[in-house]
Symmetry: none
DNA sequence: CCCTTTCTCACATCATTTTGCGATTGTCCC
DNA sequence: GGGACAATCGCAAAATGATGTGAGAAAGGG
């Protein structure tokens, strides 16, 4: 099946082993063909569901796994979370149609190293497998920007200029989960003053609860 | 100075304006020449120190800034932190000889969108400027991996095995700041059930408030 | 079949938070 | 001095959250 391998060539010593988890039959077989027909790559296993992968993938632990996110039953993110612990050296590349922030971050946290859109060109897919195998993290620069943006969201409390210093101080303590009476004790002021500051904070941030205020300032 | 621009060609309408902050004269002039001699790019300003840039860059706010990290006086990261607020639309690409984790993250947090090593080939530098200008985040996949690694250290809610799936679900909504009644509506269950789940969550996490629970699970 | 876990719901009570309306004291600036 | 703002405190009502107790239904394992 090595369509592009010249006959008589010395055996490839560094064959990259790949597994595919993908529920759509056509896509799965397309990827399998792409990989098996490319020199230096071998698709050693495919699965249609996360459950099957969790059951049988650890026995082989391929170099790279292409994991669909939208799977029936347990999704690809959960599958990676589970499998990454059993196959720590395996590199996981998520595959999805959506460029959804939540999924991107959850995937990365779950242990994925790369993130590809399904519309990605076949040659790019092979590049990405190579890249992740060699310690890189393939992702479009658009996705990289989202990842970076999540860093920048975390403006530390002090950068907000709409709150006074005292209000920032109160908000910090609020975010630590202290109660009004504890904050009052901490700052040696009355509980009513804490109430007043909190009210002002909420008004300025346009929220109506502690958690909302924290989320608004700290970023998600 | 447009070395590579064919004579008689129609004027470029979308010229990308670039500024360079770099204390080593040779490198600075090399970059300047590279940019000015490339079609579609214009180096409108260069600085040898962060102080000068902070003083005079806001007047021009170029599309892209190449910022050296190791500058005398205030370093490139501080300079970006300062300049990004004054020129929010300007994209900053950090330039450095070291692939240092700490610097990478601090730069990104400060507002940089890309990260290049000084050994990067000239053509790649131009590519990166284009990329960052078009909303991407150019970085080597090695650096991307480091960025991703920092994500994986953050335990996500789902990794807690002491909570049931339903409880995790409730906690996610709690962390978004929703009220009990809103959570109940969201999950189509009664408010009392939300209360019960919340109580169990608190018992398992050994906390006694929403904020404490969030802090405990989300980590610092 | 029994036991455990999970998810569900109810009633009740107390604590805490959120919100409304005032008010006093400084400080800084025009 | 007048005005704007920041920080402090008080009272009080309404809303929400936290906690105790109990309990039924469904699922899964031994």
């Amino acid at each position: 099946m090595q369509l592009y391998q010249s006959p008589g060539r010395a055996p490839i010593t560094t064959m990259i082993t790949v597994a595919i988890i993908e529920d759509i039959k056509e896509i799965k077989e397309g990827l399998e063909l792409l990989i098996d027909s490319s020199e230096g790559f071998s698709c050693i296993k495919t699965f249609a569901t996360g459950e099957e992968a969790i059951k049988d993938l650890p026995a082989v632990c391929p170099d790279v796994v292409l994991m669909d996110i939208n799977l029936p039953g347990i999704n690809g993110i959960e599958a990676v979370r589970n499998l990454k612990t059993k196959c720590p050296t395996t590199q996981f590349i998520m595959s999805t149609v959506y460029e959804d922030d939540e999924n991107i971050f959850e995937s990365l946290k779950a242990g994925a190293s790369g993130y590809l859109l399904k519309k990605t060109a076949p040659s790019k897919i092979l590049d990405s497998i190579m890249e992740v195998y060699h310690g890189g993290s393939p992702m479009s620069s658009q996705i990289a920007r989202k990842v970076i943006a999540s860093f920048q969201q975390k403006k530390s409390i002090d950068e907000t200029d709409i709150l006074t210093n005292r209000e920032k101080e109160i908000l910090k303590l609020l975010s630590k989960g202290l109660r009004y009476k504890e904050i009052a004790a901490e700052l040696s002021i009355s509980m009513d003053t804490v109430r007043t500051h909190t009210r002002h904070i909420y008004e300025k941030l346009q929220v109506q609860s502690r958690t909302e205020a924290i989320n608004k300032i700290m970023g998600k």
